[in-house]
Amino acid sequence: MGPGGACWRGGGVPGGFKRWLSSQARAPRVCVVGSGPAGFYTAQHILKHHDLARVDIYEKLPVPFGLVRFGVAPDHPEVKNVINTFTHTARSDRCAYYGNVTVGRDVTVGELQQAYHAVVLSYGAEDNRVLGIPGENLSGVYSARAFVGWYNGLPENQDLKPDLSCETALILGHGNVALDVARILLSPLDLLRKTDITDSSLAALACSKVKRVWLVGRRGPLQVAFTIKELREMINLPGARPVLDPADFAGLGNAVKDAPRPRKRLTELMIKTASEKPGEKTVAAQVAAAAREWGLRFQRSPQEVLPTADGRRARGVRMALTQLEGSGDSAKAVPTGDVEELECGLVLSSIGYQSLPLDPAVPFDPQRGIIPNSSGRVEGAPGLYCSGWVKRGPTGVIITTMNDSFDTAQSVLEDLQAGVLDVSASREGFGAVGSILRSRGVRPVSFSDWEKIDAAEVARGKAAGKPREKIVDPEEMLQLIGH
């Protein structure tokens, strides 16, 4: 990407050389840290609404797209269609991608701020909240995040090798990640085979003995965090029978009569499923024959993961029964004093992701796990912005992150327009950062490098009838592009 390349190639661009000169002086250089949906949607919005701005996107891994590649379930290829738009953004003359660069280690935020007029932090939530209960580190206990990373080919989780030799799995949490994990554990293998799930996790799932999955939440049916699409998908999963206790839903039909539509429809779907007797179902025979089952358990708070006699593996979870104080989203689960033990050999904690501080120079609120900000403007740090999960916490679906990123981009654009961001002095952007990286022996991966990796993955998948076979070893990715 040469300087002013777009203008020269454009030929008929009005303004010609004069405009090229002035654009060089005034082109705002923006840096985005993280190439997930937040990073790409922020870049897209800035590029679209500012004719001169140039955006460089930095990514820790060699490959782009963050949770679209490593979080979205392999059997949800539709959601991954956003990659087409991201690719279009990355191919823009005014956008560049630099993978394999860890901000905070290879280059500091301060150095980025020297090289760019504005720096947007969109690095997401790379950690998970921990249960903080005894037995959490026993074999057979995993974070749902690591499990998701494992089947989605995230390099850092490839050694997880979860033990799937038990019949009952317990997932702690009632969010969409919990449902994703339950669905992957119980899906017929033939459905997964056609997805981009990694070959090694497919092989492990083929040997899985898991046939029963309980999803356990501290609060009640009115507080579940998953969305209706994911629940309906689970209910319709071939070969798996939903086990919902009608008693859990008694009186809830009335309670949600005037609730907002999403909560009302979600609750009604649970009630309907709980009250359906197998004989009433159109696919009764199929349901009766279902070898696998799953269910929702409410008002149970995990107290301890119980070890096997040899003290090494999980054999169950002891849970405190709870009652709710208050109602709606703010209801609190308070232990009743009663406990219950549930036997299971596999425990997956899915109680939320968590952002980590990136660099001592960046303010961070450890309580809320976010960078303190106002409409994406980092508090007390002019020129620094944030978007996505690190801005608002690890919640929401793709449209949430899209709107949130557009909001941050809007703040950047406003600050450019109002002169809050001073662009009178030009910044070197990657020109400066590239030198720093070279001096530290770091070789960035370009977007065309990624396209080579992408093509190789697609070719490998083709033979197996999969959309792609992900390369899970960063070294192998780098070798492939001749690094």
Binding site: Q44, N81, V224, Y353, G393, N403
Partner: protein
């Protein structure tokens, strides 16, 4: 940032794959773009064969007005059977973030608000569309997803409104936090 030509093919292929694989009759009931793509792929009957579509004169086209978030009016034409997402993509209409999942009922970014008299005559909504609409920003009584609404002659000159991205809807959905 509008999608160029090759992206459209990608989209159609992706949509066709999804709907061909979809086992649920309910889910396959009335996908706009998906239906068109699937029908072409399997050679099933649809209102217009490819050649007939190509022969359509401009008089057969249907005019749609979009009121964008900033209040600007965008006017475009589409063929009968095209979804409103098709109209936006084919005409490169500049609507931020529209159609992120490319018509596969996996997001709600093509949410549009209809005039009462048009809304009343739209085909019945599926559970799957309702599920995604539940996550839409600025939901109204006459909201639908543009990818699921196919043009009919009776819609000529209709006006649809792009909802604003309302800030207070942002906290409504939780993806990963425990209850």
């Amino acid at each position: 940032m509008a999608a160029p030509g090759p992206l459209r093919l990608l989209r159609a292929a992706a949509a066709a794959r999804r709907w061909l694989l979809s086992a649920s009759p309910a889910a396959g009931a009335r996908p706009g773009r998906g239906r068109a793509a699937a029908a072409v792929a399997v050679g099933a009957a649809r209102p217009f064969g490819l050649s007939a579509r190509a022969a359509l004169s401009s008089e057969d086209k249907i005019t749609v007005h979009f009121i964008n978030r900033d209040g600007d009016k965008l006017t475009a034409k589409g063929k009968p059977g095209d979804s409103l997402l098709d109209v936006v993509v084919d005409n490169n209409l500049d609507i931020d973030g529209f159609g992120a999942c490319e018509g596969t009922l996996a997001c709600s970014t093509c949410h549009l608000i209809f005039e009462d008299h048009i809304f009343e005559k739209l085909d019945a909504i599926t559970d799957e569309e309702m599920d995604m609409l539940d996550l839409a920003y600025g939901l109204t009584e006459t909201s639908r997803l543009g990818c699921q609404i196919c043009l009919k002659k009776s819609m000529n000159d209709m006006t649809v409104r792009v909802p604003e991205a309302v800030a207070d809807a942002r906290q409504s959905i939780d993806m990963s936090k425990n209850s």
